[in-house]
């Protein structure tokens, strides 16, 4: 059904395209620069502090990831198919001996490769600085945070690709991506806070609503990897620790995986059945 060679060819092309994209380069440099700056700011003054440097840097990077990664994942994904659709490159590509599933999967893997390279560069640069400072005691937690950032990036990319299959124009897809980013990053949090105060929701409901947001899943899982408990999140965090115990982290990881695969599968199904937007003929 699938030709792996086609998927590889398409992924390679997308990866090269992304690495040549000046916005992508700007994002990569900004992320790496901020990650380096954070690791430098966390520079330890003594041995006791040094032991905590990796986890402190990881905690700072969580906030950086929460802001940057959804934005770049959603925009890169949402502009991908719509851009090709507008230039006519998509219909030309589909006129070759490839099928639609190969095209979508190949494109997704290529952009995902570029996105993960960016994260690796940012986290890697910060990690190297910390290692040079001798703060390697909590490297495991740091690496787990990097893994969680990868999963969040892929989930955002999947959502972006889903928007790209649904939108007719790049501008509409990008508008939708920015709205979703705002919703997930700011409005979602504020909405939960407001609802909690006005409706006096039980603590378990607050927690369940929060973890529907993949960004919250990432945040909670990341805090767990560097702190072992969720006291910092207040009653909801304590409830989650009490209720799920050691299962909480695997459950959150599974939740992020669902956020990767569900939108991606939906995008594949929609794109495979779709022709009206893609082949909107200039002349019949």
């Amino acid at each position: 059904m699938f030709d792996v060679a086609n998927i590889r060819a398409l992924a390679g092309k997308e990866l090269r395209d992304a690495l040549r994209n000046r916005w992508f380069i700007v994002f990569t440099l900004a992320f790496a620069g901020l990650a380096l700056a954070l690791s430098a700011l966390m520079q330890p003054n003594g041995l006791q502090v040094r032991a905590m440097s990796f986890s402190r840097t990881a905690a700072s990077l969580i906030n950086l990831v929460l802001l940057f990664v959804p934005l770049i994942g959603l925009t890169l994904g949402s502009a991908n198919l719509t851009g090709d659709r507008e230039t006519g490159a998509l219909v030309y590509l589909l006129a070759q001996p490839v099928n639609r599933i190969e095209v979508l999967i190949g494109k997704y893997l290529g952009v995902a490769g570029a996105l993960l390279s960016t994260l690796t560069l940012g986290f890697g640069a910060a990690g190297v600085v910390l290692a040079l400072q001798g703060s390697v005691q909590d490297a495991g937690g740091y690496l787990l945070t990097v893994l969680l950032a990868y999963l969040l990036a892929l989930a955002m990319l999947s959502l972006g690709f889903l928007m790209s299959t649904l939108a007719r124009k790049t501008a509409a897809a990008l508008g939708g991506a920015l709205f979703l980013w705002l919703f997930l990053v700011f409005i979602g949090d504020l909405g939960i806070m407001g609802t909690t105060i006005s409706m006096r929701l039980p603590i378990q409901t607050i927690f369940l609503i929060a973890v529907l947001n993949p960004l919250q899943m990432f945040k909670i899982a990341s805090i767990l990897t560097i702190q072992a408990n969720l006291e910092v999140l207040g009653p909801a965090g304590l409830y989650a620790t009490d209720q799920f115990g050691a299962l909480l982290l695997p459950l959150l990881l599974m939740g992020l995986l669902i956020w990767i695969f569900l939108p991606l599968v939906a995008a594949v199904v929609i794109f495979a059945r779709q022709e009206k937007f893609t082949l909107k003929a200039r002349s019949r």
Partner: protein, 292 residues
């Protein structure tokens, strides 16, 4: 080589193709003729299996509906407007060669065949329209397919590029390739095709040899000639005296010509010492001074 049986394609309630049937033999060159919206591009896209349709389409013994990807492997496609990614000519050909499972050595061969070998390092967006069209032809030829499908291939080319492109397609047809192309240019259809399928409103309305097309559809060729305003009246008198069908339009005069008779009205003006400022060849019917 290609068989279409009762092919229908609907966009909602509108039938872009309505019960179209035809057969094309191996080695034939067949033109799809029709105005914009007649169903030419839809027919070609159905042949490529990139959009759904009712009915049956067989290309090179492959059922397009059931094995679209295999059918596309047997077809080289040249679109009306090229849409390449931001890569060099060489990178573009290597990319499509991988998708078409063509040997990488074919890249050099097709570059040579379409005379783009000196431009292989150029980025595609730096190429002229004619060169981009030749690159699209090179991509189409990578896997040496038996069928070439071309969608108004010379519509965006200048006169010299049109001639070069038509010559290349003629050579490919002579080498045995089956050619299917859409066009609404009479000279292109006459030069390239051995048979014409006429589409109107999604229906196949006529099938004829190319040299009969103009007469069967009542098409005419017009030469639009621009002269200085002080010579316009004399120009009209000359065309009137020599029995031409003509139509004044602003600073120009449309004069109806026969195939191969483009030079005669220009010579008549030259003999009368009237300088021709510009001229253009137009095919179709004139409506109030505008061609269709």
């Amino acid at each position: 080589m290609i068989t279409a049986k009762n092919v229908t394609k609907r966009y909602g309630k509108v039938a872009a193709l309505n019960d179209v049937s035809f057969a094309i033999r191996a080695g034939e060159s067949v033109a799809l003729w029709g105005a914009n919206g007649a169903g030419k591009t839809t027919t070609l896209r159905c042949l490529l299996g990139v959009q759904g349709f009712e009915g049956e389409l067989i290309v090179n013994d492959i059922d397009v509906r059931k094995q679209g990807k295999a059918a596309r492997a047997a077809i080289g496609y040249v679109p009306q407007e090229t849409a390449f990614y931001d890569m060099t000519v060489l990178e573009t050909l290597r990319f499509y060669a991988r998708l078409k499972k063509a040997a990488q050595q074919r890249v050099g061969e097709v570059l040579d065949q379409v005379q783009l070998d000196n431009h292989s390092a150029k980025r595609v967006n730096m190429l002229s329209g004619g060169m981009k069209q030749r690159l699209a032809l090179a991509v189409a030829l990578l896997a040496d397919p038996p069928v070439l499908v071309l969608d108004e291939p010379t519509a965006n080319l200048d006169v010299q590029a049109q001639r070069d492109f038509i010559h290349t397609i003629q050579s490919l047809n002579q080498s045995g390739k089956t050619i299917v192309f859409s066009s609404h240019r009479l000279d292109e259809v006459i030069a390239l095709s051995s048979r014409v399928l006429v589409l109107a409103d999604g229906r196949l309305t006529l099938e004829c040899p190319p040299h009969e097309l103009a007469a069967r559809l009542g098409l005419h060729r017009w030469l639009r000639i621009w002269v200085a305003p002080e010579h316009k009246e004399t120009t009209i008198q000359i065309f009137d005296r020599e029995g031409y069908t003509y139509m004044p339009n602003g600073r120009s005069v449309y004069v109806q010509i026969t195939h191969g008779g483009k030079i005669a009205p220009l010579r008549s003006l030259e003999q009368a010492d009237i300088a021709v400022e510009d001229f253009d060849l137009i095919e179709g019917e004139l409506q109030g001074g505008n061609h269709v």
